[in-house]
Amino acid sequence: MTADLITSLYVFLLAAFLGFEVIKRVSPLLHTPLMSLTNALDAIAVVGAIVILGERKSPLSTVLGALAVGASISNVVGGFLITDRMLKMFKTTKTKKS
């Protein structure tokens, strides 16, 4: 467990630093779609929920798992959909005329 924990902490810290460096460069123009995109990516929690639901270890875990899968997949679908809709609207003076 401790070795796993240490590895996980390394992964977390590196990912957080990488996140800072990458997201710092996002143009303020795109802060709204950035938030809806990270929201959709964050819904990767769905993979944990799928396993809990599929294992059917107890009635409680099945119900909670089903709700969790539904909530996260709606974030996946809705999040990607609205991000793409927003980004489609961003045009420059040139692309607008062509």
Partner: protein, 463 residues
């Protein structure tokens, strides 16, 4: 397939998903590559979900299929909301994400109790506490943004003490459960306390603080997902949670800086109250007003115009009329740019999305640092529904509650025109001395109607 092979398949899909997620965020840096970022994210998500379905622990696919289909059906309308509803939709999706994480944490606890290691119980507690407070906090924020709840900050004496005590109680219960994971009866307290805290946390927050708060809730949602990754020993979840968490954190920092305030000040300050007293002491002098006809004449005679939009433009849904104005002025050879303050609107980037929706090219949308040097050489600034972010008091009046906040220097332009419903003070409750400058003209009326009238005077637009 042998069990070992399926495990490898899952790991490979997760690794690919991780890479694609990081690329997705990298490609978000510029509008030209951003849509590629969405596709990368979608592909990564599809791979990860597909891989997970091979998990050997899964014995029943029936309910998974139903939950995936029902959830997707709910997700579609949430992805198709009108652009003006994007802030509340975002708050709602923070709630959904955190809800899912809190539920998984709860399920894990009851499946594992009483055999839970100290470490596992610590991360499960963190997952459940962060998840639960984000659920109610985000629902409250969405309610305020949708205006089903009062937007005015509500404060009472000892508020911070009460709020922090509730959170502290949750932490105490968490510590106790770490030591005694067999005490299942205490677990509901671990869920309930953060749920209450989430509500109370948003009660004192006013509308103009929403950009910071939404970003902060975004960070919490990400951190709770990362905690879930620790609990499930899933590197993919840890990474996705850390990326989301750092994104929310960076946005919160940008928003707080743009208001010259600290996180703690946003969360515990209840801005609106302090400012209301500052307003009462002030005696309002006369202002100069102008009609749409006069405004159109001034704009048409200008060489350069900067439009400064704020939340008022979003409320009045004036962005399409603003586009007509932009085109009418362009046709007359007037250079038109947009100056956008980081906290204009109700979430980070709100104004950019609305103006992009109205088909205004994004190379005309300039942020505060880029536009501020241009005001002194600008003939006319047209402020539409923005208030505090243009108040020169932030620059020079040490006594002002917004002193030190970076503002758009609209008062340095040759002429300033402000479209406003009335002289009533904005969110801040403080007078804006910009309105009393000799170079300022007040255009009283609804933003959409007034801009429409100006466009008509200029002889453009469709009616």
């Amino acid at each position: 397939m042998t069990p070992l092979v399926t495990d490898h398949i899952i790991q490979v899909t997760y690794l690919a998903a991780t890479v694609l997620f990081i690329l997705a965020l990298k490609w978000m840096s510029a509008p030209s590559t951003a849509r590629r970022g969405v596709w990368a994210g979608e592909l990564g998500m599809a791979l990860a979900i597909g891989g997970t379905l091979f998990d050997r622990g899964i014995i029943d696919y029936h309910w998974i299929a139903i939950a995936l289909v029902v959830g997707s059906i709910i997700g579609v309308p949430l992805g198709l909301v009108h652009m003006t509803a994007v802030p509340q939709r975002t708050a709602l999706s923070h709630a959904f994400g955190a809800f899912s994480v809190a539920l998984v944490g709860t399920a894990e606890f009851y499946l594992r109790s009483p055999h839970i290691s100290h470490f596992m119980m610590s991360v499960l507690s963190m997952e459940v506490i962060l998840g639960s407070l984000t659920v109610t906090g985000s629902l409250m924020a969405a309610g305020k943004l949708q205006e089903v709840l009062p937007q005015r900050p509500i404060t009472f004496k000892g508020q911070n003490v009460v709020n922090l005590s509730i959170l502290a109680l949750a932490v105490v219960v968490a510590v106790y459960l770490v030591l005694h994971p067999e005490q299942k009866r205490l677990f509901p307290v671990l869920i309930a306390m953060p749920l209450i805290f989430g509500v109370l946390m948003i009660v004192p927050i006013g509308g103009a603080d929403m950009p910071t708060v939404i970003s902060l809730l975004n960070a919490y949602a990400g951190l709770s997902a990362a905690a879930m990754g620790f609990a499930l020993d899933s590197k993919l979840l840890i990474i996705a949670g850390a990326l989301d968490g750092s994104s929310g954190f960076i946005l919160s920092v940008i928003m707080s800086k743009a208001m010259n305030r600290s996180f703690t000040n946003v969360l515990f300050g209840a801005f609106g109250q302090i400012k209301a007293t500052a307003a009462a002491a002030h005696e309002a002098p006369a202002v100069r007003t102008a009609t749409a006809e006069e405004a159109a004449g001034i704009l048409a005679a200008a060489n350069s115009v900067i439009i400064v939009p704020g939340y008022g433009m979003a409320v009045a849904q004036a962005q399409h009329k603003v586009r007509e104005l932009y085109e009418a002025l362009n046709k007359r050879g007037v250079t038109v740019k947009f100056g956008i303050h980081p906290v204009a609107g109700r979430m980070p980037g709100h104004m950019n999305v609305l103006l992009a929706e109205a088909d205004i090219p994004y190379d005309k949308l300039l942020d505060m640092d880029a536009i501020n040097s241009e005001f002194p050489e600008t003939d006319v600034v047209l402020v539409i529904g923005a208030n505090d972010v243009t108040n020169p008091a932030a620059r020079k009046d040490h006594g002002s509650p917004i002193y030190g906040m970076p503002i758009l220097d609209v008062d340095k332009a040759r002429t300033v025109m402000v479209i406003k419903r009335s002289m009533s003070p904005g969110f801040a409750g403080i007078d804006n001395e910009l309105y009393y400058l000799p170079k300022t003209l007040m255009l009283f009326g609804d933003a959409r109607a007034f801009v429409g009238d100006i466009v008509r005077e200029l002889g453009g637009g469709q009616h």
